[in-house]
């Protein structure tokens, strides 16, 4: 299934992507599964997505936890804890 993935702040810099379209294998259906899938791309990806750093996720502009389901057409975003204000 096709999804769009966005990266922000520290994470954007680490993976050198701000946005990409991914055609996911059909068994990747949660945020956790997507994180594991991305962590296989190389060392910098593994460091971010192996669970040792806090990486927040949003689906379609709403904060979600890692158990959230991903469906085709979703916009998934990964970012560090927010620091506005």
């Amino acid at each position: 299934m096709n999804i769009k993935v966005l990266y922000f702040a520290r994470i954007k810099e680490a993976v050198n992507y701000s946005t990409e379209d991914i055609d996911l294998p059909s068994d990747i259906t949660t945020v956790t599964a997507l994180k594991n899938y991305l962590s296989l791309r190389g060392d910098n990806w593994a460091n971010l997505f192996n669970g040792k750093q806090v990486v927040r996720a949003a689906i379609n502009h709403a904060l979600v936890d890692d158990l959230a389901a991903i469906k085709t057409g979703d916009e998934v975003a990964f970012f560090p804890p927010v620091t506005g204000g």
């Binding site: 949003a58 709403a62 927010v82 506005g84």
Partner: protein, 153 residues
């Protein structure tokens, strides 16, 4: 209720006057202005750059304002948050709340700031005398938000 995300500065006096004069039933306006400090964690700050997640930012801030309006008897609210590169003493954010009475306006304004700090997708990067670094989220900000979860009003 309104939300503005913008690169340019805002005119604090003008914004507060508009909010205040919108209705003669307003008796109280509480506002918070955040500005860039010249020193953070012991290092001199040259610039502060704010990144955000467009669309999600607006949605998050509108949701926070709606929640405040549900919890307290307020008349109106305004959030202006700047993005881009700022200098020390630049204004970063304005949160202003109008109401008939002061107590509810105070609480709603502080609530909006506490939620903004922990729920709105902004990130800060500091250029210091020793190079660039991302600002870390603070546990004290999570604690400030949690306070509101544990009280009815």
């Amino acid at each position: 209720m309104s939300v503005k995300i913008q690169i340019e500065d805002f005119d604090l006096g003008l914004e507060l006057s508009k909010l205040r004069l919108a209705s003669p039933s307003i008796g109280a306006v509480v506002s918070f202005v955040g500005q860039v400090r010249d020193v953070n964690d012991g290092d001199t700050i040259n610039t502060l750059t704010l990144e955000h997640y467009p669309i999600m930012t607006e949605k998050a801030l509108v949701a926070i304002e709606s929640e405040a309006k549900t919890r307290w008897n307020i008349i109106d609210s305004l959030i202006i948050h700047r993005v881009g590169t700022l200098q020390p003493c630049d204004q970063i954010v304005l949160v202003a709340v109008s109401g008939a009475h002061r107590g509810e306006a105070f609480h709603a304004c502080e609530f909006i700031m506490d939620y903004l700090k922990t729920s709105a997708p902004f990130w800060k990067k500091e250029a210091t005398e020793h190079g660039e670094r991302w600002v870390e989220a603070k546990l004290s900000d999570d604690a400030a938000k949690t306070r509101w979860l544990n009280q009815l009003k």
